[in-house]
């Protein structure tokens, strides 16, 4: 993992001291709320429905066990004993007191963490494949590039007041586990016919009220020009992105309105200019960063054999572990989606336990996934059974990864001041309706995503089944979408028709799954069947 140098630490420590002074002045009445609000937002501190909410950045979703432990301790010390892992691989605390926020940020800084640029119209925390550096199907480890992006984007003076917020994701395999094409910029590390590595730039994707899949703008940019190309993409956006209407201010609108070809032409022109300025970090810096992401000390010659005689363990291994690049190791995903639970929530004790398990069994490392789960990236297969038992004892062994119980849900109207409807109770009811693991496995891969408003933090556009909560004359109402995907086969869901009540949407989801079971061909996922037979049979079953 990357470790701060003295510059990184000084920047974060200085920011804590600065914010401490700002909070002190606000509490003393020396500055008004209008003056203070943009300052607290620059430090990730929102005022939400019930209290202040702090969003902590987890760079490309990667944590050391010491950092994870601190997140658990913060949940106890400053919050109400839990935290919420988000769809952008971050963590949010819902009950923060302003007067304690500087101390909290100081605690974060002590483990090389912060909440900078988790709000505002700037480049937000870069996200990445949660299996980076571990996946058997990986071409290139994206983490050094993600870290370079972190350093480049942090406090970048030119891009601190963009037309709108800006989100970047980076992956290094053909399997997209980061919803890369639904970001403002998605970067895929690819290989050309000559065996060289390059960056494929997808620009202008996003969800929200105007969902769009990003087109390819730069097909093969040399990695040592990645930052210059990003500068070019951002400069064109900063210059021409709309600032008169926040609903049309994201880069996706610009790319759509002028067209991908014209946007590409302008980027290439700017790129050629930037290359003459020498803005690219020296190659030695990327090499220095790569040094932090060397393979951990894997044992050689380990067996891949596993004793699967315990049926519950066997189910968990089948569902929640993935192939590791190193023989004898596995990637473990810990589901934060217990039946009837709150997606993405974990108690302080659970967070600390996962930290301890990472230290003991996963080379001191964890990842947060955009699907609101936690990954232990490097676990010896020989340790899996003991790990599973410990997780099971802590309520963390649900074997439902990528099944209908593995629901993504935003905080919704239970916490969020922007929301129009509650997301969590719907997730809980669906989770309970499909509680039987055998039934979930019979349905197979089925990604269900719920948002409580059009801002789409719950990625409803990209769910095989998506649910959008709306406000209909003061009453919660839920629209159903089918056919979305945020994987390599990215697609946007289509609304089935009129919306439903809270209980009605659960019934509608069940009817949709029944259509799938009746109509599927061998090997088809829900999404495949939908794509083959279209919307009509589903509408007939749901509304007929």
């Amino acid at each position: 993992m990357y470790q701060y140098d003295s510059y990184d630490q000084q920047m974060v420590d200085t920011r804590v001291a600065e914010f401490r002074d700002q909070v002190s002045r606000r509490l003393a009445g020396e500055i008004t709320e209008d003056q203070f609000k943009p300052l607290r937002l620059k430090n990730g501190l929102y005022l939400q429905l019930h209290a202040y909410m702090l969003r902590v950045a987890i760079p490309y979703g990667t944590l050391s066990s010491a950092q994870m432990r601190m997140l658990g301790d913060i949940a106890d010390k400053y919050d109400r004993g839990y935290g919420h892992f988000t769809t952008r691989q971050n963590i949010q605390y819902n009950w923060i007191k302003l007067e304690q926020a500087p101390d909290l940020l100081a605690d974060l800084a002590s483990v090389e963490m912060h909440a900078i640029q988790t709000s505002g119209n700037c480049i937000r925390n870069t996200t990445a494949d949660q299996f980076a550096g571990a996946a058997a199907d990986e071409l290139v480890d994206p983490r050094p590039y993600a870290e370079l992006l972190r350093q480049w984007s942090t406090f970048h003076p030119e891009f601190d007041y963009l037309p709108r917020k800006f989100k970047i994701a980076i992956i290094g395999s053909d399997t997209d586990r980061a919803a890369m094409k639904l970001h403002d910029i998605g970067i895929q590390l690819v290989q050309n016919d000559a065996g060289e590595i390059g960056c494929r730039f997808y620009v202008g994707g996003g969800m929200g009220r105007t969902p769009m899949i990003a087109p390819v703008i730069g097909d093969f940019v040399p990695p040592l020009q990645m930052i210059s190309y990003l500068e070019a993409c951002l400069r064109v956006y900063n210059r021409y992105g709309r600032r008169d209407n926040k609903y049309k201010a994201r880069i996706k609108i610009l790319v759509h309105e002028i067209g991908a070809d014209e946007y590409r032409r302008q980027v290439e022109e700017e790129f050629a200019h930037i290359l003459t300025l020498g803005l690219e970090p020296p190659p030695a810096e990327l090499e220095r960063i790569k040094g932090f992401f060397e393979q951990p000390g894997f044992e050689a010659g380990l067996s891949d054999d596993l004793d699967l005689s315990d049926p519950d363990f066997a189910l968990w291994v089948d569902q929640n572990t993935h192939a590791h690049k190193q023989p004898g190791y596995a990637i473990v995903t810990i589901s934060l989606k217990p039946v009837g639970g709150i997606p993405g929530d974990a108690t302080a004790d659970q967070i600390r336990l996962m930290a301890d398990l990472a230290k003991e069994l996963s080379f001191d490392e964890l990842r947060v996934t955009h699907a609101q789960n936690i990954v232990l990236p490097h676990v010896r297969k020989a340790d899996l059974y003991a790990l599973w038992q410990k997780l099971d004892a802590a309520g963390l062994a649900d074997a439902n990864l990528d099944l209908i119980g593995d629901i993504i849900a935003c905080p919704g109207l239970d916490y969020c001041s922007l929301a129009n409807a509650r997301s969590i109770p719907v997730a809980q009811k669906i989770s309970e309706r499909f509680a039987d693991l055998g039934r979930q496995r019979e349905l197979g891969e089925l990604k269900l995503k719920i948002s409580g408003c059009i801002n789409a933090c719950g990625h409803h556009h990209a769910g095989h089944i998506g649910i959008l909560g709306v406000d209909r004359k003061g009453t919660e109402n839920y629209q159903l979408l089918l056919g979305g995907s945020e994987a390599a086969d990215t697609s946007l869901g289509t609304i089935t028709g009129p919306g439903f009540s809270e209980d009605g949407i659960v019934d509608a989801v069940e009817k949709a799954t029944n259509v799938y079971l009746a109509q599927r061909s061998d090997g088809e996922r829900f999404l495949d069947t939908y794509r083959r037979i279209g919307m009509a049979p589903f509408k007939e079953a749901i509304y007929g």
């Binding site: 509490l27 009445g29 019930h50 209290a51 109400r80 007191k97 302003l98 239970d414 003061g474």
Partner: protein, 98 residues
């Protein structure tokens, strides 16, 4: 009825104008048919409350109930964590929200 709500600056807690001060319990909220703007201006000037605004509510036999679901959830707490709500000992506390 019209009631005034806001957040305590120091803690962020949801608070309600109770006539002579602020309360954390919505049932203490008082009707402010007139003069809300003056109260808000005066209280804002004290720098102890933020995000003050007026909302519609109804006086019911069970207490003051904000008109909009968002304000009712704000008054009670998250419906999915009643243990953290205004009435953590009452398992039916969420019923009046929806």
């Amino acid at each position: 009825m019209k009631i005034i709500t806001g957040n305590e600056l120091r803690t962020g807690d949801v608070i309600w104008w109770a006539g002579e001060g602020w309360s954390r319990h919505v049932n203490d909220a008082v009707d402010v048919p007139e003069g809300a703007e003056a109260i808000i201006a005066r209280e804002n000037a004290k720098q102890i409350v933020t995000d003050t605004h007026v909302i519609d509510a109804t006086q019911t036999p069970e207490g003051v109930r904000p008109a909009h679901i968002k304000d009712r959830i704000r008054a009670l707490g998250p419906t999915v964590r009643l243990d953290l709500s205004l009435k953590p000992a009452d398992p039916t506390a969420g019923n009046w929200v929806i």
